[in-house]
Amino acid sequence: MAKDNSRLVNILFQVGAIFIALVFTTLVMFIAGAPPFRTYAELVRGALGNFKLMADVVVAWVPLLLSTSGLLITFSAGLWNIGVEGQITIGAIFTTGVLRLLQDSGLPPFLIISLSILAGMIGGALWAALAGALKTFGGVNEIFGGLGLNFVATSLTIWLIFGPWKRPGVGSMSGTQPFPESLWLPMIPGFRLSIWTVILAAIAIVIIYYLLKGTYFGLKLKAVGNNMRSAYLLGIPTWQYMMFSFILCGVFAGLAGAIQVTAVYHRLIPAISSGYGFLGLMVGMLINYQALWVVPVALFFAALNIGSIQLPIVLKLDSSLSGVIQGSMVLFVLLMDGFRRQFSIKWLRRGDGE
């Protein structure tokens, strides 16, 4: 009975948090001189206005879902894998590299694409392993190691685009020479969406859900994340588990990067990760690391991203509004969660005293 009650309170607090976040963003719009209702309406129209836009939301949803799925593993192990951005980027670089290498080889396109995606997953895993090795063998906090590696990955991308992989003529910020259409993941006619990416994302989330909920591995990983010392005393090889969770997260991040190249941009661009790594961390925090909620929340965040794209044109507002909404939601959910816990503790104590 008490448990049901606390669950209801929990939901009430979360709804309250979302409401406060909306009040906050409305206030921000007032300050920026934007008409709040029209802005919200444009956000919805920008994401759901027609089928093409809805397909775009799915295009953004897939890599976000993949990076969040990977991050759920590192979160379970108690790790802050901020390096996920770099892992997406290196995945994209590896994919582009293999595509460039094999594009004139005469191999069947299906094989080339598969190999390139595999390479992307390996690339992401390697970059994650680097952050993991820095953490486990070098004592470098994964937040700072990961951040540094993010910047290195970005500069590597830019160097490749302007250097060895530059377009015929002169390199430009618009990226490398696009690949021929035969090397794209097959698109749904008339849309930018490839159904293959959705299938890959669906497989990924099922794997993660099963891994974390239904296996001893997931249980032990959580033990490492909750209390490394006692996990170690229980005989769980802690550093191997941490390393493995980094690598697994890197595989998913690398897959996200590979999809960005093979299904979305068809080339390497400077901002190939599109910020889906950091956004994935936000989704992870918002859903309190519960795998079941990844699918809808990532979809919602993707819709906000797509919905805000045309704000600069329609209302002369910066499209970073989506980030403000996403950020304030996560922030207020965290704050309200803290309120709920502190108040329930105080309430319990008072109950004891009387």
Partner: protein, 358 residues
Amino acid sequence: MENNLILIGLAGVLVSAAPILFASIGETFSERAGVINLSVNGTILLSAMGSFVAAIQITKFLNGLVERGAFLSGVPNPEGVINGIGLFIGFIVGAIIGGLVALVVAFSSITLKQSQVAVGFVLTLMTRDLSYFLGNDFMGEVGPRLGSAPLPVLKDIPILGVLLFRADVMTYLSYLLIILAWVWIFKTRPGLILQGVGEKPAAAYVRGANVNRQRYIYTILGGMLVGVAGPIYSLSVKAGWKGTISGLDGIGWIALAITIFGAWNPLRVAFGAYLFSLLQWLGLVLQSSMPDIPSQVLQVAPFPLMILTLLLVNIGNAEWIERGLASLPEGPRHFLNRLIRSLRSSPPSALGTPFEKQ
């Protein structure tokens, strides 16, 4: 002549290190008290934008008054006075923004006992987007800019005069900040309490320190110092606000890394900040001789170095190193041990953990 150019370049390094110094010494204070404020990167952007807008608005308003003859009539140089007021207000606004963001971090981590890393990370992203969104209307506007103020007498000292004393007020303040912060933390009684609060909060509490109040104070003070870094950019070093291409995104992360590199000691933090600025300057200088490398690559060149230095200062804490050292013969073991120990930096032991009186 050649020498002089190098001196001027180095003086520029000191000027461009000023904002990083403010940010990483601010972070040093809050981490010394046991609170990681991960929001630095976004805070710098938001305070840069906010202070720039505040400075523009106030100078516009005052100029309007002057035109109507309601203000400063008869003063020989009204524009200079107005610019000064605008700059002053700008810096105050920057500090307030930094303090407010830090207050959210402090409240959620000290009072609500939520994860400092989580809240700080959300804030760093949200304040960044907030600065781009709110600053959109003011992109590319021209605002007041902090001019250089050579110090009389001191500026004529050979070499040192050019190097140190022909900069601007904020750079001079950054020199002062290094010394004051060091003296405060290591040579005063409140500084001793601060160290206790971060190292052994329970012991500090028993000795009568109000741990949570101390943490609030230093987190907010640290946040205000971080907030000053913003206007040093938008009103001086990189005057103006250009949205996503302002080139400020990433500086805050560097400042956080320098805090660790500096082992929470203002003098070593200063060394880190100057080293970083020197590397960036060298990158720019070298670019003319290496036109093949795009400038974006050189701008991030310090990051691999940052990882390397973090590795160097942390690796002494790793267990396998100790085991490896123990198996070495006497001579090299002694040498390596001393080398690693001199580089090593251990964080305040209570960093990131909430304090609860039992």
